[in-house]
Amino acid sequence: MSSVQQITRLPETASQTGGPYVHIGLAPQQAGFEIFERNFGNVLGAPQTPGERIVVEGRVLDGSGTPMRDVLIEIWQADADGHYAHPADPRSSAFRGWGRSGADFETGVYRFDTIKPGPVPGRGGRMQAPHIAFVLFARGINVGLHTRMYFSDEKVANDADPVLTSIEWEVRRHTLIGHREQRDGDIVYRFDIRVQAPDPAQETVFFDV
């Protein structure tokens, strides 16, 4: 028991699963009803937002390889110049950089329409490669799972990224790369997430942030 800490610190509230009906609270239209005038969704930015338009999509797979069709994903990212819309960033952006998407109940595919972020300052003056932070909530997930997606066309920056290169097992780093492809005129990054996999090299890296 950490009785000393309890004198000076309040314990963080315990996490619980979002459950199968997380959409009611976070994406009620997907649950099947209209209630709010304004809804938070999976389209980030406006037509005038500077940057390259991209689609990020994929599936989240459980330990049997079955798509998790009830998963809800949120993403957080910088703008095309690498700035976050937050007061901690001195050149705070007009681009909010946040969205949420529930996987399709039939196909299990999630999707975000966003812009490609720029490189972001890291610790000690080192730059981070462009990346998008992900957090996953679902039935059976007791504490939201944090991961990151990097971009397959940023190999040089990825190879120097302080977070990616801090992953001791090089064979696991590929699990954080979204793969760029062209589809019907769209730039699509395909990013499948394996919450559990028999082969440790195939299970997506999740972070204790």
Binding site: P11, T17, V120, A133, G140, G144, R172, F206
Partner: protein, 238 residues
Amino acid sequence: MPTDPFGDFVQRDPSLHPPAYAPGYKTSVLRSPKNALISIQQTLTERTAPQFRADELGPLDADLIRNFAKDGMPIGERIVVHGFVKDEFGRPVRNALVEVWQANASGRYRHRKDQYIGALDPNFGGCGRMLTDADGHYAYRTIKPGPYPWRNRINEWRPSHIHYSICGDGWAQRLITQMYFEGDPLIATCPIVRTIPSDEQIRGLVALQDVANFIEMDSRCYRFDIVLRGRRATWFEH
């Protein structure tokens, strides 16, 4: 001691939270990573988070009794739920987005995938949202949710609960949890509650009756405070 308003968050103490793999809650078995989480030094990505404005929310968003009412009021016990969102050092978390969702008084969710026999209430949606004020305070009005059976073991029943999602000021603070009600006998046996490793942490999820804030001839009141991770002190300039 000085605190950088945008500095690192203290590392999360995993003993306060359920493990990913908690076989009493069967769905977690195939949905838990086998590898350990990789601990990273926080960057701007983890120290920042989306900002929300009051004008993005509607005037009834925090009133679950009225925000889906069609031709009358929802059936069930009227309650007010309120509390403070604080960090680990007791500082208020201002402008946090608090989103709540729940079953109706019959234990039925308004969700296309919920097949429970309990009746839907035409006047109850079951979700609400609000921003904390300058003191970190939030409040909403709703109907007390009913318990319901679910598929885990046979005759497993969830205690009455309200789901919470909280977006604080840093991505590292992001939290989803559930609030329970004082005195509910189902809390002690619920496999989802029991994923939490300590009784003290379970008590932290149980809202207490706040008799002083009952509304006469109208509603009971429950108090539920939430603690998010706090930013660490900076001992030395670097």
